[in-house]
Amino acid sequence: MNSILFIKDLKLILKDLKFQIFFVILVILFILSAMSSSVAYKNLSNDFQADYKNHNSRVHDGYYTQMMNMLSDTKITVASQASPSLLFNNYNTYPDKISTSVMFYEPFFSNYNAEQNEVFSLNWYFIIGILSGFIMLIISFEAISSEKRFGTLRLLSIYGIKRQSIVWHKYLSYLLLYLIIIIPPALVSMLLFFILTGSWSMYFMVKFVLIILLSIPFASFFIILGILISMAKNYRNSIVLIVFIWLLFVIIIPQSAYIIAKQIYPLKTNIEYHNMKMDTFDKEYAEWGEKYDAAVYGNGNLFDGLRAKAVYASQEQKNIVVQKELEDSKKQTKLIQRVANLSPFNQLDEIAEIVFDRGYYLLQHQEETAKQTISQIKNLMIEQDSRDENSLHLYYSWASNDQYALQDNIVPFSKQLFNHPELLFVTNIKTDNAATKSIYILLKLLPIIILNILVFAIVALKIERLDIR
């Protein structure tokens, strides 16, 4: 490595007005991000504290121990404390929190689908991913053309410097520059966030360093792409290419992903899904009616909670349709993500999801956690019901919503307590261990690494053929 060349390239860029303007913009954006994130963090934190306090007081008061109250009024909440990872999220949503009920497990899928979330907001992913990628492209797109314009490319070759060495040193100096423009403003932003919120997380700081390191291959891609563009025949072509690449990665690919996925996995309308659910419910309910000679209808005989059982069974059938709707939506989302991943910005976003346990990645774990909890509760209910022939623990929530289903004077409902209220509030989401996460991340890094190698090879070939007269 020729330190003289390296320092020269670094000095030239540091003196460049473009770079100075972009650096100031980044500092301002990082500070704004910290300030607005701290407000959102406080709100989320307050919400969480309130929920947690409420939950604890209910447990303490024996509120959960009453089956009726538990199933009709309270939902199982899978929640995690608001964390500094908020900086990487759209802070106007509730990314770290998901509510569900025992009977209706329908996560708010669209909240976790970046493509469906149309709110454009300022966050670290935007700054580190999209903006800095673009800045590196703008900074590097004159790397060779400026040397050619000044004629210094010729002079350097007189000093026995290989052309590929010129490219290599420029690349390294720009990569260092990337860290210079990202790390100090991001650190200031982090410290500001911690000061404003009065919080501190070493765990997050480690993840922060990790995401900066993981963003290097992406920055590298835009730098080497910029260098390739800087070898275009004229300045106008370079500008056109920059604009095209920007549009391709930020708009065309993500939008195409959405259109393609909608064509391949079309979703029914909300009304169609609603009708399907109601039809399924009605059909099952009707079968119960036929089976028990219409006893479940009207305000007639509801001996042994038969009507509650009928509603529960119908609801279970309806839940199959709900699951189908969810699966359809998942398929579409997965395809959107696969196509959108052709854009490096999306690849980095997915890696950030894994590192910071957020977004679609976290949703999958939350869904799994919630399913396990629901299954556990159901089993416990069945177990308790089997011990008491009058008990309708499992069916009571449905029955309680139906004015005809239960009448205090005739329904023999167990007054036994539900013994496991702690299951109804899950605060720990189990995510993959570091080794599994590393494999996921490496697999996601693979495309960008291949792209880097490919563009490097093209640059190496092109620089040797460049006419420097």
Binding site: L155, S157, I158
Partner: protein, 236 residues
């Protein structure tokens, strides 16, 4: 010593820019290559510098061949072009420091500054960015860079272009002293009078061919302008 042997260059469009050029410039010699625009002067320099590959032929400096060791050959060259090549965001001093260090020489600030003063750069401009320099001032920094590379061969492409009379005179004296130190100086020009005044040998090029080669003695009482025009007419 600079030796060019059977050097030819045919571009992809079929244009023969250089046609079997052979010449030799010894140490302690100033060689001026005279020719109109498009005669092949710049192509010759571009090939020697390695900016473009030759179609055939070779260049040799002190036993090093362009075809065998191009990078090593370039280290033996100092190059000064008509439009001096410098980094606009650097000062004259910073440009000189960078290229001197690149040549493997670590000179102190006083030496670098005194070189710039010696070639006539105004002191108050030394630490201003090149973007603020006139063409002549850039040329002076270019000369300083070439000087401090301290090579046996100097390639100068229209070196007097942009210099004021005083600076041109000073530069001319500098070239004489370099020659006397044993350097080989090869310059292209279309300034007939300067060529006659300075060069130990004048080569006349037209349409990629070296059509004439006159020593200082041969030119002493001759009209170089007329000789040059005669050669050109002959070719046409």
């Amino acid at each position: 010593m600079l030796k060019i042997t059977e050097l030819s260059k045919r571009y992809e469009d079929g244009n023969l820019a250089l046609d079997t050029l052979s010449l030799e410039v010894k140490s302690n010699e100033i060689f001026a290559l005279l020719g109109a625009n498009g005669a092949g002067k710049s192509t010759t320099i571009n090939i020697i510098c390695g900016f473009i590959p030759p179609s055939s032929g070779d260049v040799e400096i002190d036993g090093i061949l362009l075809s065998k060791e191009p990078l090593k050959l370039r280290e033996k060259l100092a190059y000064l072009s008509e439009n001096v090549m410098l980094y606009d965001n650097f000062t004259g001093y910073q440009n000189l420091k960078f290229f001197t260090e690149l040549a493997g020489r670590n000179l102190d600030k006083d030496k670098l500054e005194s070189t710039l003063i010696k070639i006539g750069l105004q002191e108050d401009f030394m630490h201003k960015t090149i973007a603020k320099y006139s063409k002549g001032m850039r040329q002076k920094v270019g000369i300083a860079i070439a000087l401090l590379k301290d090579t046996p061969v100097f390639l100068l492409d229209e070196p007097f272009s942009g210099l004021d009379p005083k600076a041109a005179y000073d530069f001319q004296q500098l070239l004489y002293s370099l020659r006397d130190e044993g350097k080989t100086i090869f310059m292209s020009t279309h300034d007939i009078f300067r060529a006659k005044e300075m060069a130990d040998t004048v080569g006349i090029m037209t349409a990629g061919k070296l059509v004439g080669n006159k020593t200082k003695a041969e030119l002493e009482n001759a009209d170089l302008n007329q000789i040059y025009l005669d050669y050109i007419e002959e070719r046409q």
